[in-house]
């Protein structure tokens, strides 16, 4: 499916040139004013918007700025087309991502649009702690694979006894554990499957990864082994020796908590018919809950249906 580029210009000649230059690569939707374009943009979020910028037309600049002020559309790249004699040195009042001179259209437009889209796709919301992509990218990754009817496994990981650890040592050390976990998952997943794998950080101590079904089990086991080896080093020596820490449970009662574990729940597209990302994250979260019932670190893979089919 072609990506959509919206062109906004009062100048019909400009719209036509742009449509001719981009039409073979993208689905083009043209509008004569930004206001008429907004409704379309809000509802179908194109990949990029090309705007013919007329500085003295406040409707154009206001329209662009309003759009970019909304966090939902901050990522939407806007390429401004400027008249050749227009001074372009102050973008405090014009929230565009890139610009192109009218005289440069023929040579540059296609390249700029393609690069602008690529750049916006690379910029994902990133968890400041782990620098891993967050929920929007995770959901997009799942949905893209579902739409393409790719077979893939989806794993959901979280830590056991993380909260008492945080309470005992403070969140600074808790952050270290989160960073370590993120690094381990990323390196092990990428090491076992370079292409088409994905690691995301849902938030807190929750991580997800996507791999091929035949690789996900071994990778999960390796993550578990690495986690169990490294994480005790983050505890103070006496706690590590004791194998537990003294902390408080959710009711505020003093209690002993074992060294942290990691639990991983996995599901795949072979074991159920998923059409929406929410269904698959739910199924994996369900498996993770099940994995958590077992003592120590472990993974549980819901491939019941696949096994039945093989049988």
């Amino acid at each position: 499916m072609k990506k959509t580029v919206v062109i906004v210009s009062r100048d019909v000649v400009l719209s036509n040139i742009a449509t001719r230059l981009l039409g073979n690569l993208y689905t083009i939707v043209t509008f004569s004013s930004i206001l008429s374009a907004l409704d379309y943009i809000y509802n179908s979020i194109p990949s990029l918007v090309v705007v013919d910028v007329v500085l003295d037309d406040t409707a154009v600049t206001d329209g662009i700025n309003n759009l970019k002020e909304d966090p939902m559309f901050r990522q939407l790249p806007i390429l401004g087309i400027l008249a050749d004699q227009m001074i372009a040195d102050n973008f405090d009042f014009l929230f565009i991502d890139d610009y192109l001179r009218k005289s440069g259209l023929e040579n540059e437009l296609q390249g700029r649009v393609t690069l602008g889209i690529l750049r916006s796709e690379r910029v994902v919301e990133i968890n400041p702690l782990t620098r891993l992509p967050g929920n929007i990218s995770i959901n997009r990754q799942i949905q893209e694979r579902l739409d393409k009817k790719d077979d893939f496994a989806f794993a959901y990981a979280d830590l056991d006894h993380f909260k008492p650890f945080n309470d005992r040592y403070g969140f600074g050390r808790g952050d270290e554990v989160i960073r370590i976990t993120g690094r381990l998952i990323l390196n092990i997943v990428k090491n076992r499957q370079r292409e088409n794998s994905f690691v995301g950080h849902v938030g807190g101590d929750d991580f997800i990864f996507i791999m091929s079904p035949e690789l996900v089990g071994d990778a999960s086991q390796e993550i578990i082994d690495a986690f169990d080896q490294i994480v005790p080093a983050i505890y103070d020596a006496e706690d590590r020796e004791a194998g537990a820490i003294q902390s408080f449970d959710r009711q505020g009662n003093a209690n002993a908590f074992p060294i942290m574990n990691i639990s991983i729940g996995i599901t795949d597209t072979l074991s159920g018919r998923f059409s929406h990302y929410g269904e698959i994250t739910e199924a994996a979260a369900e498996m993770k809950k099940y994995a958590k019932r077992f003592k120590g670190s472990c993974y549980r893979y819901n491939r019941r249906q696949a096994a039945d089919e093989e049988a």
């Binding site: 990428k190 490294i230 080093a233």
Partner: protein
């Protein structure tokens, strides 16, 4: 004879950003990195057998930028956290000694041998992280590398003195330097935010009674250093044998059978490492 001033020594050590390695390591490294399918395990084993590479990896993973300052003292953990790409990039940047003293090669073999013995004892003692003790063995004499690198004339005359006077190198150092190799190594480890245990073992391997948080590990490296010298592997800067610290030896509670086994396993392990280094 004038000895090198403490401030000058400190200044030099503070300015070190990386340690060079020996030519044969570099040669094997380029072969290893070219391999299309290299595993984390393979690279870990390689790095864990070279003091310069090991310090490089530990420096990076323990740096504040990376986010695990003073936490990681095992090479395999470091590599798992850094990831293959980062480690590869890091290793590609390793330099080699410009002038290769024969004593440097001997020091390399001494370090690798000490790491082997330290691991065997750690396993025998049932320590949870033999890797960490092995790293301490590998890096215990890094101070000698630094001194030989930065003050080669002075260090060479210290080694000569050790030879002619029949004393151990740490004694001979005293006439030439305000501070000995053990502390010099610990300075660098401290500057590079290595874990406290590791710093302590490095700094105290000749006076294990001073260790507080890593007593067992210090005792193990202290003993391994002497065992590997006695076995005649490599060159530690002198031809004498240091005296084993009685308290440290007692503390390890090794039976005669334990020691026999360790020595036997040492022979096997040394053969293996030789195979790796000649492959």
């Amino acid at each position: 004879m004038s000895s090198v001033d403490l401030k000058i020594m400190r200044g030099k050590v503070e300015n070190i950003n990386a340690l060079p390695t020996i030519p044969s390591t570099l040669k094997r490294l380029s072969v290893l990195i070219e391999k299309p399918k290299i595993t984390l395990d393979e690279i870990s084993r390689f790095v864990a057998n070279d003091p310069a590479l090991a310090t490089k990896v530990l420096k990076m993973v323990n740096s504040a930028i990376y986010g695990f300052p003073g936490r990681i003292s095992s090479v395999s953990h470091a590599i798992m956290l850094l990831g293959l790409n980062v480690v590869k990039g890091l290793l590609l940047g390793v330099s080699v000694f410009e002038i290769m003293q024969k004593s440097m090669l001997g020091l390399w073999d001494h370090s690798v041998g000490c790491a082997v013995v330290a691991r065997l004892i750690a396993v025998k003692k049932g320590l949870k992280e033999p890797d960490e003790v092995s790293v301490a063995g590998l890096l215990h004499d890094i101070g000698k590398v630094i001194l030989l690198l930065e003050f080669s004339k002075e260090y060479e005359s210290a080694m000569e003195d050790a030879q002619t006077q029949g004393v151990i190198i740490s004694e001979a150092e005293k006439d030439h330097f305000a501070e000995g190799h053990a502390n010099v190594g610990a300075w660098l480890a401290e500057k590079w935010c290595f874990p406290r245990n590791l710093i302590e073992v490095m700094g105290n391997h000749h006076r294990p009674q001073l260790s507080r948080i890593a007593q067992t590990e210090t005792a193990i490296v202290h003993l391994s250093d002497i065992i590997i010298r006695a076995r005649g592997v490599g060159f530690a800067g002198d031809n004498s044998l240091p005296v084993i610290n009685a308290a440290a030896f007692e503390m390890l509670k090794l039976t005669e059978a334990d020691i026999k086994e360790i020595l036997k396993e040492m022979e096997n392990s040394l053969e293996e490492t030789e195979d790796i280094s000649q492959a």
